[in-house]
């Protein structure tokens, strides 16, 4: 019995292999040489991520994008999403190194899990097969469940991990059940084959297929924290270590939205108008719930959690447009994710950097007068808030502009209008923080706010990188937007 060796494009697979190999190496290194300096492992992890980024940028997607029977798909979209995921992992490693409360944790385990989560996200985004979507999703979910509860001494962390785990497993069940139903109705887990079956035979209208599609939307909706499946977000984001929260707010969303996009690109145009209505309602609910709830928050991590929900709502607008067959929407999604990653990571980095050893500054009140005590940090925070609110000349404005105009172009009227109204609402809570930082005297609590921890250089690097990116994309957006648009060309 001879078994043919499967065709593998190693150059395309290299980014994933680097990340997985790096994860194993970091874990092993810490297990065998535990006395090493922590900074060595951090540098190593950053190097792994950077080299993976390099490898994925170097690998030009060619005509043979799909390998291993569509299990692995390396096209322009994948390449861009890889860059996004690796960027967000890079940031979260920087943030982790800067965060004081994470100084005591076993670095190898922590960084290894971050890298494993990264590899899961990459696998989820780079595939045409529902099977790999699920496996990738489970890889990063498992890693994140553990990362959420990594500070075991903190009850909030344990609560976050447990909530995330229980609800996340439940959502995974929905996703898997949906996939099984789709498989039953179409006889395939490959999105391209499913799309073919839908055009040639009638099962697109079959209840099994629609039910399956609905379940998959529920499962993915949970991962991107879309309404009404977002309830876990604030608690989990609040309880997790801040660096992990930052990671959670970007990486999984990129991966899950990427899978969502591929699904809709394949089956969307043929799945009928029900999906249109579902996406419309989900988008509106998500952004409204996020923005309205964010106004009342007194904890900055909760506020950022609701803000991330709202941003997921904006992206759902793009999803709805994609279902109507808009390439512009995919491009603007990629660009939006890029800007969102930078501004969100930046905001969380300020939260990390503002904290002192043993006490994090998580109450919004803590930021009163930050403009006087630590002007540079406050300035960065103000920039990120302005960008998150979508005010020019920041990247946030441009990204939103592209996103909403894509929706307008495919004939949506009310959806973009509601989105813009939501943006206006969001200005109130983003700017409240800015007002607090500059127009109030510093409170009593942080008597000596000054010094950063030993990880200050990491925080500085992250802040400079994020701020530069946000400003650059706000003022000179076109080249990167072009890149994002070009990345969608090879899709399907």
């Amino acid at each position: 019995m001879t078994i043919p060796f499967p065709q593998i494009h190693w150059a395309y697979l290299l980014p994933v292999l680097l990340v997985v190999g790096g994860a194993v190496f970091v874990l092993m290194w810490d297990a065998f040489f535990p006395q090493r300096e922590r900074s060595f492992l951090v540098t190593l992890t950053l190097a792994v991520l950077a080299s993976a980024l390099g490898a994925s940028l170097a690998a030009q997607p060619g005509s043979e994008a799909a390998s291993m029977g569509g299990m692995y798909l390396y096209d322009g979209f994948t390449r861009f999403v890889f860059a996004l995921i690796l960027l967000s992992s890079f940031f979260s490693v920087l943030l982790s190194a800067a965060q004081r409360s994470l100084e005591e944790v076993p670095a190898g385990d922590y960084l290894g899990l971050i890298l494993f989560a990264t590899s899961g996200m990459m696998l989820m985004a780079a595939t045409r097969s529902l099977l790999m979507v699920f496996v990738g999703l489970e890889i990063f979910s498992l890693a994140l469940y553990v990362l959420a509860g990594f500070l075991r001494g903190q009850p909030e962390g344990n609560e976050a991990a447990l909530k995330y785990f229980l609800l996340g497993s439940f959502a995974s069940g929905f996703l898997l059940y949906g996939m099984a139903l789709i498989f039953g109705a179409t006889g395939s887990v490959d999105l391209m084959e499913i799309a073919q079956r839908l055009t040639t035979s009638p099962p697109s209208r079959s209840p099994a297929f629609l039910l399956g599609l609905g379940f998959v939307v529920v499962g993915l909706g949970f991962k991107v924290a879309a309404a009404p499946f977002y309830m876990w977000t604030p608690d989990v984001y609040e309880g997790s270590p801040t660096a992990v929260t930052a990671f959670m707010s970007v990486g999984p969303k990129v991966a899950a939205f990427a899978a969502f996009f591929r699904l809709l690109l394949a089956v969307g145009p043929r799945a009928g108008a029900e999906l249109d209505a579902i996406l419309w309602v989900m988008a509106v609910l998500t952004m409204t719930a996020g923005n309205v709830s964010a106004i009342w928050q007194s904890n900055i991590k909760r506020m950022l959690a609701y803000s991330s929900i709202a941003h997921a709502g904006y992206i759902l607008v793009a999803l709805a447009a994609v279902r109507r067959g808009s390439d512009l929407a995919t491009g603007s999604f990629l660009f939006y994710m890029l800007v969102y990653a930078l501004m969100n990571m930046g905001a969380f980095c300020v939260v990390v950097a503002a904290g002192a050893r043993g006490e994090e500054r998580t109450r919004i009140e803590d930021y009163a007068g930050l403009g006087y005590t630590r002007p540079a940090l406050a300035a960065a925070m103000a920039l990120f808030m302005v960008s998150l609110a979508g005010i020019p000349p920041t990247g946030g404005f441009v990204a939103k502009f592209y996103l909403f105009s894509a929706a307008v172009k495919v004939g949506f009227v009310w959806l973009p209008v509601i989105a813009v109204l939501n943006s206006v609402v969001s200005v109130s809570y983003y700017l409240r923080l800015v007002v607090l930082m500059y127009m109030r005297e510093p409170g009593e609590a942080p008597a000596r706010p000054g010094l950063l921890g030993p990880g200050w250089s990491y925080a500085l690097a992250a802040l400079v990188l994020a701020a530069a990116g946000v400003l650059n994309f706000g003022i000179f957006p076109s080249s990167f937007f072009e890149l994002a648009l070009r990345s969608t060309l090879l899709l399907n």
Binding site: M132, V135, S206
Partner: protein, 172 residues
């Protein structure tokens, strides 16, 4: 004829076990009933010539996972009083109604939708008997599904690492 008898016996075992899981008051009995259900399922797989799936069903589900359940139930060992508090009549009613609804939906689905898997899929029972269940699965695992196969290895590894991280004493 014998095959049918076999099927009805296994189907009865599977369904009765599943009903017992939810109906029995003692969680330990529920776990044991679930084992019976899994064994019945394994028998059904066997009768479809899917020996590999059957064995995996026994080793993984009946053997390993239910053992874990049993551990939890035994170590928590709820007394009669605690179980009283866990009656949850409203949830039980709602669960019954929803469960029956889902069941009706599935029956309807099966009756109306031409499913493209199973007998119409790549490996119906007859073909499986021809190529061999283990051979078929093994070949697919190292060719078409090599990436998910390897990715599952990563997934399991992450699970182990996570469990160790969460379980170990807070040292250092």
């Amino acid at each position: 004829m014998a095959g049918q008898l076999f099927f009805y016996f296994l189907a009865l075992l599977t369904v009765a076990g599943a009903v017992a899981v939810v109906a029995l008051p003692n969680p330990l009995y529920s776990v044991l009933s679930l084992v019976a259900t899994f064994l019945g399922l394994a028998g059904l797989y066997l009768s479809l010539n899917a020996q590999f799936v059957a064995v995996v069903q026994v080793i993984v589900y009946a053997g390993a996972i239910m053992m874990l359940f049993l551990f939890v139930v035994m170590l928590i060992n709820l007394g009669r009083e605690e179980r009283q508090a866990l009656r949850l009549p409203v949830q039980k009613l709602a669960g019954t109604i929803i469960g029956l609804g889902v069941f009706a939906g599935l029956v309807n689905l099966y009756a109306t939708t031409p499913l493209l898997t199973g007998a119409k899929g790549l490996f119906p029972a007859a073909r499986l008997a021809e190529v061999g269940s283990v051979q078929a699965v093994g070949r697919l695992l190292v060719t078409q599904y090599v990436l998910p196969f390897q990715a599952m290895a990563v997934l399991l590894f992450v699970g182990i690492v996570g469990a160790v991280v969460l379980a170990r004493r807070r040292a250092r």
